[in-house]
Amino acid sequence: MHFTFTEEHEELRRTVRRFLEQRSDEQAVRRAMETERGYDDDVWSQMAGQMGLQGLIVPAEHGGAGLGWVEMMVVLEEMGRSLLCAPYLSTAVLAAGALVEAGSEEARSEILPGIASGETIATLAFVDDGRGWDVADVQMQATKDGDGWKLSGVKNFVLDGHTADVILVVARGPDGLSLFRVDAGAAGLERALLPTLDLTRKLARVSFSSTPAKRVGASGDLTSQLRRVLDLAVVGLVAEQVGGAQRCLEMSTEYARTRLQFGRPIGSFQAIKHRCADMLVSVEFAKSAAYNAGFTAAEGDGDLASAAHIAKSYCSEAYFHAAADNIQIHGGMGFTWEHPAHLYFKRAKSSSVLFGDPMQHREQLAQSLGI
């Protein structure tokens, strides 16, 4: 593991940050989060057109940039930093990742180009209603129906499930776990936007009632491939968390430097200074955790699952504490609707739950390490 970002990575970071500072500033985030769709079409098109972000990990032969998980980490860190409201984690990470890791060649050719061009919003529906985040928990059955398949049941917490053009559904077929495609407008498909704690990330409940579907998974049981897809999604999410946590640290530090009370900047009081210092330590640890997971994903020869467990457990808590401390340091102001601190706080809490909470990841880590 070297942990060294190249000059290309840093250039990518600068480019994405510049774009997001212009197109995903606080006002843009607030506008997007109040809409039902949850994002700005125009920004989405620019992300694809100008920068090719949606196709970051899509192979060049399918119209993507063919880059890897270190680049994805850099991009998502910036998106987490700016609280970008967009169906990116769903489309470019979950759906694209699922197709790259577990899709049939045909499905990849069919779907990935649209993702890369920004025309297709896609998502991965995997959590069965009332069940956990592990793909092994999936019980939904896909039944053969002529040449195609039919799905019935409910998937919960589907990222951008209400707007996705293509929903990739994890369900059990005769060979075990596989991937099925359902398109917007399919018969028996119902999608309900959920009232989320975090307004900046849209979740939907998606119901299928004998809904026609197409099998798009590679052959055989895809449990281990889909596990990897979720580990990679965790890599993406922890990068977002690190970006958000770093931003909270910067907001706190900036405020502590400039807010005067008792004739002094509040950051000159040890109560505030040491809180910021402790935040710095945990943000740095979170970066170590996330980068380690990202580089492990990119190099492909390490223990990705363990790195993901460590990162999801630690980064979730680090972000939550940074966001909570950021409110405290801002005092009454940090608690108002008009200040952005609460947006980070809600994002932090929700990200901690998404894809499994810290305790669950620790339990899995302990099992794999034999603790």
Binding site: L197, L203, Q328, F335, V353
Partner: protein, 409 residues
Amino acid sequence: MSMKTMSEAELRERTRALLAEVHPDKVDRTTFRRAQFDHGLAWVRFPEGHGGLGLTANLQQIVNDEIRKNAKTFYEDMAINPIGIGMGGPVVLTHGTEEMKKRLLRPLFTGEEIWCQLFSEPGAGSDVAGLSTRAVRDGDDWIVNGQKVWTTLAHLSKWGMLVARTNPDVPKHEGMSYFLLDMQSPGVEVRPLYQITGEAEFNEIFMTDVRIPGDRILGHEGDGWKVAITTLMNERTSLGGGGGSRGSGPIATLLRLWKNREKAAFTQASEAVMRDRITQLHIECELLRLTGMRAKAGLRSGIPGPEGSVGKLAMAEINKRLWECSLDVMGSSSLLYEAGYELKRPELHGRASRVEEHAKYQFLRSRANSIEGGTSEVMRNILGERVLGLPGEPRVDKNVPWKDIPRGV
């Protein structure tokens, strides 16, 4: 008969006499509370003629018990006019003129005139005494300009307890005065201040060339800080833990959520980890309650211990952890916020919602516990300095004219 020595039996009798004359189940609130005031049963510790009988404060309990026993209707002071009765009354009694007492205390008690407190400013949070709102003499009157914040009930209030700077050329604690501001005065604008929950419990107040008659000053010019301290001392005693029975309050909600938990969402191991965490919170909540009881026992026996100030700090910190734990108990469903974030005034009498929604609301609301009414940082300073006797920090804002102290937004 000397009022100071009125026996409990006599007080009970006097209360029954009030009830015989006007019964709360039969007349409206104003009528009953006016009569209660006139009988000296509003605050028995207040002097005769001002709603009281000159007795010790603890005897008020006798009156309240007697009313509760004999009537279905009982008006909680804190529901009627919390800031007026909790802080306004005492401060008028201590620092007001005879005319003010006559004019203000009765409608304050009845709830005909609601009060609010205008101390905090955007630039003066923990450092309340650093406030910038200016009051300048204009003939007999004062002209006020400035902005206040964190004002509960301002949109319903008749009177605001306003502290403003009347002399910027002296050190900050010496240059303030304390005014009664008629909230209907021209130039007073009240705007709701929305919070993390989407609700606006508080207001921002903008004052532009607001005129206050010269006789609406409490204490003398320059006494503002002293009078404000009287007000705040009455605030502190109304915060902090204690009260309730064992296992009641927030911990009861957490235990109920735990009982209702989605069993399938927990492994045996994660259940054990969670149970230990909940048990720790149960213990801390119980000790918060017991510490509150000790503080009260201390007060009763005349030994005020540090337990009271401890309660405010501990409650804020425990509350936040408790509601965090509640969300963890709810697992994935804590991704949702069923109540939504419609920007609005809070419902006056709370919300009747499912326990899950209540917990989520509290999860967000509790973040303010360590900020409102004194941040946890300020509380630790108070405990360190006033209870443990540790020295203060070097001050850069003492003995310096207020106008020379560095000040930001």
